[in-house]
Amino acid sequence: MSPVSLPLFDALLLFSIVGLAWASLATTDERRSVILFIAFGLVLAVAWGRLLAPDVALAEAAIGAGLSGALLLGAVHRQPRPLSPGSTNDSRNQGATGMGVVLRWVVTLLCTALAGTLAWALLHAFSSVPHDMLPRAISGNLAASGVSNPVTAVLLNFRAYDTLLELAVLLTAVLGIFALGQANPGYQPAGPVFDSLVRWLVPVLILTSGYLLWVGAHAPGGAFQAGAILAAAGVVLRLAGRTRIGLPEGFMLRIVMAAGVGLFLLVGLTLLLLGRPFLGYPPAWAGSLILLIETAAMLSIAATLLLAFLGGRPESPAHAARTESANTTASNSGNEEQTPC
């Protein structure tokens, strides 16, 4: 974090970011689009580093590029034909008809106008006198927050209500995914090279997630980045064709999924009963309470993201074995194994 100004580096970085975004959206090849999007996310993480936002950079690399990329690539892999609404020969896609061309131009013009308006408003805001009331309020109260990383203080203390609702959004999304169907079929067992890589990678990922959780109190890191890395360990195990990927089963799985929201609410309500405001931690306890909530949140986030990668309700091993034997007798082709890409 050296205080230097590198306008040429910034210009090159932004050129590649905008170029990757454009390239990812200009193609009609889904696989190419997803791969360019992953590259876009990784270069974006460098930009967050340039803007002195290391917490965001970590989250972008692990979640924005990593797990979103894994989700999207998995979807491309399972979907040999493009996912299009209605008919496959969509005129908007080919721009063959006159109406299609006009529509494209109108939408492009409107989006350009929107970008122009936004840019105008932004430059107007930047050129006015900057007000630093909020940053000063945050740094002034940091000592009472229980942590010394200001981003963690905002997420888990000053605006803890936002984070509680965010965990509720995650839980809602995974319940929606559960409602839509069964998990995707597993992958074939990995070859010896990938398998030995997995043996090294998974413990390192688990250790890294524990480190990020702990370090989040005073340096970049925290429950979200830690949860995403922990989920990545499960994704790697899944890709290597393992059936046990660290997810608990049945009732325990439901406990882990709800642990983040549940413990957060429990802490908030207990404080309310003790005569403090909802989620208004006493300063002496704030550090321990934040670590407790973050640990539960990390487990919930990891389970949620891993379930999102599975794409549906996981089958219990006994049930999976039953369907497998039923499939071999009925020769059902819908449940065949996939190869990792």
Partner: protein
């Protein structure tokens, strides 16, 4: 006014508009989901540019926390959208 701030801010506007255009015009559901993610990245870039206060002053942590929340909400929305698209595709196959 800081050079880096407006450079990143303007790039955020461009990326957001590119994503919106892609989300409106692409025929493939999967590419629309990618486009919405690109649009979100543009909004995040705007927020992080607003938080930036030069190389000497520490940046405003509040927009950073908002962007972190946004990234997690975006990935859960993407996962739900992909599950919906998969189900839609399965229903089409049945017809």
């Amino acid at each position: 006014m800081l050079t880096a701030q407006w450079m990143y801010g303007l790039a955020g506007c461009v990326i957001m508009a590119l994503g919106l255009r892609g989300a409106l015009l692409h025929a493939s559901l999967l590419q629309r989901i990618v486009a919405i993610n690109v649009m979100g990245a543009g909004v995040f870039m705007l927020l992080v540019a607003v938080a930036y206060r030069g190389p000497v002053l520490p940046p405003d942590p509040l927009p950073h926390a908002l962007v972190l929340t946004g990234i997690v909400v975006a990935v859960s929305a993407t996962a739900l959208a992909l599950a919906l698209a998969r189900r839609l595709h399965a229903e089409q196959e049945d017809d």
